[in-house]
Amino acid sequence: MMVDLSGVTYFYPNQPTPALRDVDLRVPTGSFVLLVGPSGAGKSTLLRCFNGLVPHFYGGALRGRLRVGGRDPVAAGPRGMSDVVGFVFQDPESQFVTQLVEDELAFAMENHNYDQRRMRRRIEEVLDQLAIASLRDRRVETLSGGQRQLVAIASALTLQPSILVLDEPTSQLDPQAADDVLTVLQRLNQDLGLTIILSEHRLERVAQYADQICYLPGGGQPPLSGEPRAILEGIELAPPLVQLGRRLGWRPLPLTIKESQPFALQLKVRLEQAPIPSQSIRATPKSRATVTRSGKSTMLVVRDLWYRYNNHDVLKGVDLEARSGEVVALMGRNGAGKSTLLKNIVGLLKPQRGSVHFQGMDVHKTDLATLARRIGFVPQNPGRLLFNDTLAQELLFTCRAQGLPPNDVEPLLASLGMSQLAAAYPRDLSVGERQRAALASILIAKPQMLLLDEPTRGLDYASKERLRGLLQDLSRNGTTIIMATHDVELVAQCASRVILLGDGQIVDDGPTSAIMTGSAVFASQVNKLLRDERYLTVDDVLTGLGESPGGR
């Protein structure tokens, strides 16, 4: 066994309840293990047990027996485990020590006193294994998100560890970059027999690669571990394809589009034969667009927007309009200009050319305080907003800052599933919980337009489901929502329109169903399977079959 944990219980310092309770886990050599669970269930904590960062780095009390790669991580400590366990963190940016890629790769080997020849050989090997030889002389800050993550993986591999542990390595990547990283991991696992353990929320990206899934339910319940199909059969968290398979009784339960193809043929026939219910499945693109554009007032008008940064045109003549109650998804690869467009819309950045008008106001001639009362902006990193002692105070701070009477925070927190966290210190929350806390601190002021930059980063399926419900409620009440996101499933569920950005220009703009069906990358799992504009989500299919959505 590469990993053998039995009865592992861990308490963070001064915490009455354990972050991990009675965890038993056995990972055979060469396995690909996926660690899943709701936000705050202890996934990152468990991963840090493998190389001794827990408890060496965080203190606290750890009980139970741990053997990883034949060593005891508690006795060896992180440094002693560094040649056995390679560790890759969630945010590649904050884990780099040096400025050049090649130096970064050498760092661990220098710490282990390897001779220069050996270091050179290892670096060449790793560069080839990950196909990143072209990056060797680059400065790390010039790399894209996907390239940074590959370099982070490479720098963990130079010591030739037996296990590679990754904490949500694709959470900040666009679908293509995430696929690149996961493909590399799969190759390392299959070609080198490297044991891989990674945590991930977006199971649709990674479930097919796993030999074993370990599910941490949180709340002090013991984990479940086993073969992916068996685990996904019984847990609430599951990718859309698995949800559909469970609901329609597909056996063996498919994990990939390829495995679903035999079922898809039958499903298409059933959908054609099923009487279409009165409440339509998903309005046809044309009629949907007409409804959206005819019935609602225009809230936002962007005309010929150009924005230049560091001698590079990040936005090149962007034109767009958004109407009251519309949910618009901005999609495109990392660096396409999504966040820059949002910041221009909210007035944080001033374009070199073009204009942005919100409800007739020129946002670049309006002061930020006035805009803040109308437009809510949730940045990509929720830590930029959170500073108060409790979550409730965080929300009340927004009310005070905008001169609003103190609102009752409870209903909003309840709608985001955070009632029990009202008194928690916001920065102690998990990544997903922080994301929701930041959203709550903006929504409490009831903005007329909401701009979200990667709102589902670190969110589990349940949290995403709550977010979806909330966004749909806001949309029904007339709030315009524009979100920059890589999360195709969220877009499929709640966006009425998708704008695809590429190299600072709008490549495509249209109803979600049409854009997804025409795209190989920015499409939901269900749509990839059926390639039909009417079916983007599991609910669409169930409605099409005349079955009631939900309960899967």
Binding site: N51, R79, S94, V97, Q99, F107, M109, M119, F377
Partner: protein, 353 residues
């Protein structure tokens, strides 16, 4: 471009005038020289943007220094304005804010501002030009662990300044306005927390890759090390205090050296067993020798003047402003910091490191 050690010598030589004198002519000349080096060599650096951030920070601190001097210091013979006076009692003492503004207090505030801004601009230029990791690798083994902490701290400042901008934006869009000191917690608390979180991730990442591997030999007892460190710090503080008074400055310098030596010995003792290798072995070229040589010469001149003719460095505009003294030798010592520009111009000595 040039070896990190050469840049290390350059930054020491460029910082010394800014630390040792308040003479505005020398300070302006030093800033001018550093500015030329940056404009000629550093503007195309990927970290060039951080230079302007640090320059802005330097200007802000400088303005604060000028305002503080003008508002609180009323010494000086040349009255140039009169501000409304406000008297407040603080801890039993009566403090006057505003009132008479003198040319001397304004000039002294400006020279302090130049010193502060100059230090930041010099560090920013060093940051933009030197390869920190190369510098780190070239530190003696026993100082490696300490050096990496310093290196990361140096690169952290500009990173955190960029984060500070993002936090300001995010809080402003929440409706918060930064008008008084009481409005700053949303900025500073978030910035502090962000900085701590980044530090923890970086430290985790370093530990997970074997940084600070265990010493081969057992360390001296912890209590012994603690006593020696405390003693060394005491000696350093005593030396620094003695250095401030001319009659005891030589003894102060000796004490500082002794304290520093004790700290170095402790570090050596802690780190001597740590095994570590170097991936890159850079080549030392003529251009590096030119920069290092010019910088060492500058350092020697400055230290010589400091020990043997300190009055040449002193600028004190009170009670009546006089023209600051200027010595060509000191001017030359400052101009030696232009060596990187000269070395870069010479095709026989320029290289790509």
């Amino acid at each position: 471009m040039f070896r990190a050690e050469a840049w290390g010598a350059w930054v020491l030589a460029s910082l010394l005038p800014l630390l040792l004198t308040k003479n505005p002519i020398y300070l302006l000349l030093a800033i001018f020289v550093v500015g030329i080096v940056y404009m000629r060599l550093g503007r195309s650096s990927p970290t060039g943007r951080q230079w302007s951030l640090l320059l802005r920070l330097g200007l802000a601190l400088g303005l604060f220094s000028v305002a503080f001097n003008v508002l609180f210091v009323r010494v000086g013979a040349t009255q140039i304005a009169r501000l409304p006076a406000l008297r407040v009692t603080l801890g039993g003492a009566l403090i006057q804010i505003g009132g008479v503004v003198t040319l001397e207090s304004l000039i002294y505030g400006l020279s302090q501002a130049l010193s502060l801004a100059g230090i930041l601009v010099t560090l920013a230029t060093f940051n933009a030009l030197a390869d920190h990791y190369e510098l780190l690798r070239s530190t003696p083994r026993f100082l490696y662990q300490s050096a990496i902490v310093v290196s990361i701290a140096v690169t952290f400042v500009p990173q955190m300044m960029a984060v500070q901008g993002e936090i300001r934006e995010a809080q402003a869009l929440r409706g918060h306005r930064f008008r008084t000191l009481r409005d700053l917690p949303p900025l500073f608390v978030a910035l502090l927390a962000e900085g701590l979180e980044r530090s923890i991730t970086l430290a985790e990442s370093m530990s997970a890759r074997g940084f600070g591997s265990q010493a081969e030999r057992p360390l001296p007892p912890r209590s012994v090390l603690q006593i020696i460190i405390a003693l060394a710090l005491f000696v350093v503080m005593g030396g620094a205090a003695a250095l401030a008074y001319p009659p005891t400055s030589t003894a102060g310098a000796l004490l500082l050296a002794a304290g520093g030596g004790m700290l170095a010995a402790v570090l050596w003792s802690i780190n001597q067993g740590v095994r570590r290798s170097r991936y890159r072995r850079g080549v030392w070229r003529r251009a590096d020798s030119l920069i290092a040589g010019a910088s060492l010469l500058s350092l020697v001149i400055w230290l010589g003047v400091w020990f043997y003719d300190r009055s040449a460095l002193i600028f004190y505009p009170y009670p009546q402003l006089t023209w600051p003294p200027v010595q060509p030798l000191i001017g030359l010592a400052i101009l030696l910091s232009l060596a990187p520009v000269c070395a870069h111009h010479d095709p026989r000595t320029s290289h790509d490191g």
